[in-house]
């Protein structure tokens, strides 16, 4: 559906609330369009365009809550959806963990919307992919990739007077380039709010170089190695730490941040003192929404400071029970880095392994946040400050918490995309000692 302006959204939500007879009522609306192109074997495979919208009404009587949704916005439909949510609330069992809706909040003005992305045409999408394909074809390589853009708005209002509004755009691009004989493979990924920052040609050139240089990989023994993780590889490990920072899980004794005797690791130094991780919805390189779905403001929050666990995220219920500020879990995060480039990190490495991408990450033990997964699409042996030769891929078993204790050096921060969650992050490339590879893989 078209993006509603702030005034249009406010007027629509006011009208919905005017139909409410519940003790409390809250209305959320989401809408937008997304477009994508997929390609493989140097040719377009599928592509599509999806347009959707949803209006959600939550009505509460005491601790009984009912929710109903609709995607038609005429007056009769709006009245119907409000009535239905009220009927559902009357039928629902009492939820002892119900927390009344929020009072009005103050939000910073979001900076997540870029017009150039919102007005992408099918031709621009195809042109961006054509530039990528040209690079792979010119180098006699085979490319497979994905280009996806989104434009969306969201708004919410409740009977206590809270109102929030946001618009956002995003474009994610990834490409895997392989040699024609399948013996080499390289990868690059980019994510932006602003489509004009995306250079599919440059990203594909990197993936192509990795592909060509990764053919004829040698096998080296699994074991503990110094690794340089590129940001895309580090992202899929670091995000697991952030996903695990939920206060209730830790308080209940069932996360990696729990301790004996019902205590938690909040306030403890768990990682190297160069590790600082925070979220900031107004970071110009990685802006995110300034409010979350239940109306809480997203503010700049430090999660790990100089290796110390500074904050947990809370549901409103758990924060009330613990009598602490209900900090919502972040939409993204930023890890502080240094000034060195990836090349500088390689140049300063006597012996080590460069990792382009990690893949199929799964929890092995939630107690220690032990994860397993594999390297992929460009793994190289470094000796005396230079990439010497490509090596076969490895399976690792490693905890990102242990890994950030074994930190050697951080490079300059850049925006990257997690291949696991599709989230965007600002992360430096990082050099880690004693990273645990447990077996070899023949996969290319």
């Amino acid at each position: 559906m078209p993006i509603l302006t702030k005034d249009e959204a406010q007027a629509l939500l006011k009208k919905v609330l005017s139909y409410s007879k519940a003790e409390q009522c809250e209305v959320n609306i989401y809408g937008g369009d997304s477009g994508n192109i997929r390609y493989a074997r140097n040719s377009v495979s599928t592509s599509g365009n999806i347009s959707q919208s949803t209006l959600i009404v939550s009505s509460a009587f005491g601790k009984k809550l009912g929710t109903a949704t609709i995607n038609e916005f005429d007056d009769a439909s709006l009245q119907k959806v409000v009535k239905r949510s009220e009927e559902l609330a009357q039928l629902a069992p009492e939820n002892p963990e119900f927390v009344p809706f929020l009072e009005p909040q103050k939000y910073a003005e979001p900076i997540t919307f870029v017009q150039a992305t919102a007005s992408i045409t099918p031709k621009q999408r195809t042109d961006a992919v054509a530039q990528s394909l040209q690079v792979s074809k010119d180098n006699k390589q085979v490319a497979a990739g994905f280009f996806e853009d989104n434009k969306a708005f969201s708004a919410m209002m409740n009977s206590k007077g809270l109102f929030a509004y946001n618009t956002a755009t995003n474009v994610n691009f990834s490409v895997t380039v392989r040699t024609a004989d399948g013996k080499g493979s390289g990868y690059a990924t980019r994510g932006y709010n602003d489509f004009t920052k995306l250079d599919t040609k440059a990203a594909t050139e990197i993936a192509t170089q990795k592909s060509m240089k990764s053919a004829a990989a040698k096998a080296i023994e699994p074991g503990k190695y110094t690794v340089i993780l590129e940001p895309a590889a580090a992202a899929v490990l670091l995000e697991r730490i952030l996903f695990d920072l939920d206060a209730r899980q830790a308080d209940e004794g069932r996360s990696s941040f729990s301790k004996a005797g019902g205590k938690t690791r909040l306030g403890e130094k768990l990682m190297d003192e160069r590790v600082t991780i925070y979220s900031d919805p107004l970071n110009p390189e990685l802006p995110t929404s300034t409010w979350n779905g239940d109306g809480r403001p997203h503010e700049k929050t430090t999660w790990i400071e100089k290796g110390v666990v500074k904050n947990f995220s809370y549901s409103r219920y758990w924060a009330q029970k613990k009598n602490v500020k209900a900090i919502p879990s972040p939409n993204s995060f930023i890890m502080e880095g240094g000034t060195k480039s990836l090349q500088d990190l390689i140049a300063g490495t006597k012996k080590g392994i460069l990792v382009t991408r990690l893949w199929y990450i799964r929890d092995v033990d939630p107690q220690t946040l032990l994860l397993t997964g594999l390297t992929r699409d460009g793994t190289f042996y470094i000796e005396n400050g230079k990439i010497q030769y490509p090596i076969k891929n490895f399976r690792f078993n490693e905890s990102p918490i242990i890994m950030l204790n074994n930190l050697e050096e951080l490079g300059a921060v850049e925006r990257t995309v997690s291949v696991e969650s599709n989230n965007n992050y600002l992360i430096p490339p990082m050099k880690i000692r004693d990273f645990t590879f447990t077996s070899l893989s023949d996969a290319i």
Partner: protein, 545 residues
Amino acid sequence: MKRRDFIHLAGMGASAAVLAGIPSFGKAIPPERALETIDVAQKKQMADVALNAARSKGATYTDVRIGRYLNQFVITREDKVENIVNTESYGMGVRVIANGGWGFAATDKLDKDSIAKTAELAVAIAKENSRLLSEPVQLVPQKGYGEVSWKAPIEKNSFEVPVKEKVDLLLSVNDAAIKGGANYINSFLFTVNEQKYFASTDGSYIDQDIHRIWPTFFITKIDAATGKFETRNALSAPMGMGYEYLNARPQDKIKGPTTLYKGRYDMIEDARAGAQQAGEKLKAKSVEAGKYDLILDPSHLWLTIHESVGHPTELDRVLGYEANFAGTSFLTLDKWESKKFNFGNKNVNLFADKQQIGSLGAVGYDDEGVQCGRWDLVKDGILVNYQAIRDQAHIIGLTASQGCCYADSWSSVQFQRMPNVSLQASKEKRSVDDLIKNVEKGIYIIGDGSFSIDQQRYNFQFGGQLYYEIKNGKIAGMLKDVAYQANTHEFWNSCAGTADESDYRLGGSFFDGKGQPSQSSAVSHGSATTHFKGVNVINTSRNIG
């Protein structure tokens, strides 16, 4: 819904507003609305509007899917109902070939004008993309079936069962676990009804009604003194069944170190056992890393089959269509063409099907209007076939599609997805005890746990729920911190035999992820308990200070 969203939901008890914000959940509806259906004649009319609009803009082939996807989630923890959500997602996806290339568009506005515009947009996208094609799409011929229908053979529609009955069941499950010593339990009942209508310019109008159910729980037991905790997940399987799955009869239970379930499930009994076993896991011996024989229960082996057999035999992966995300496959065409590639040894027979009653993959027709069947993938250890759809069939010399096309929503474009892939049970009479008594040093693994495999499906690592040490042909006690790592080819060549058909059971997943944007599909994998020799086992315990 994506697997990650479900995990988030499972862990956090997400609000209905959060659920509705995830497009594939659809919209929340009152429970009784799920029993309403949409008139077939009305769906045919809407489909014809799209078929005609696409044709008039120059499409040479069009298919239309009108989908109504109903989900119900009942979510509880300990003595609380966290959420009850009913969602409905209803809309249309139009796929066309124009100028030799595919185009797709979808809408949830189903008036004639919106449908026609969506079909026109699909054609415009196909034409725009055709300039990047290296060769035109080639569809293997498919006859039209006219107006036909298929319904899953369920006994009791889950959506007809009152929500209160479901809530009472889950709270009884939780009570059994807490009384059994669990500190926490999260339990879920997840039911699905897909009402799918397919129409194409080949002359098919296919109406289908598909049901799925998945009851499950996660138990946590904490040792307060040490701060250590262990978990035990349900040994249920998601099934292509109605509510009858939750009515277990004595003949559905298999007795052993823990009770296992065949075709029906006793959730309360499993929760009681689970609470006790989570406590036992805390005190269990940490495994010594090394080579062990593995006896794998079907509640565990389904996932190993899924990852190491199901995925590498997907033809789109073999050809490179998934190279950027899910990956490619080690089962390259030359291995299949040689007719002598030993995927496994002679004990290994693996078949694909979309027909097994009660399986998640069972449908009458796939999402491009092809009637479904059964075929061999690995015969006496030799790779003999793949999984293909209409635009791939010609590549492996097939004259018809194998019916493996699926989309997880009306708003997603259909593509090649895994059918049920299963390991044939032994034709000779053989019990699980017969397998165990031949093992000198081994581990008997029950339930699925951690899983990870590389992008060409060579190197994998799996954990489970319960690990029992086998010493000199007998079960010697419980182990923990177990995961096994192997190479697919070596693993299936170390198969020392399976139990017989009487032990054959289905496991499966609601959330097999593939594609960009990522789509989920539900798929089952059957097997009897199976013996593998000399597999590398690692110890997964660590210390973070």
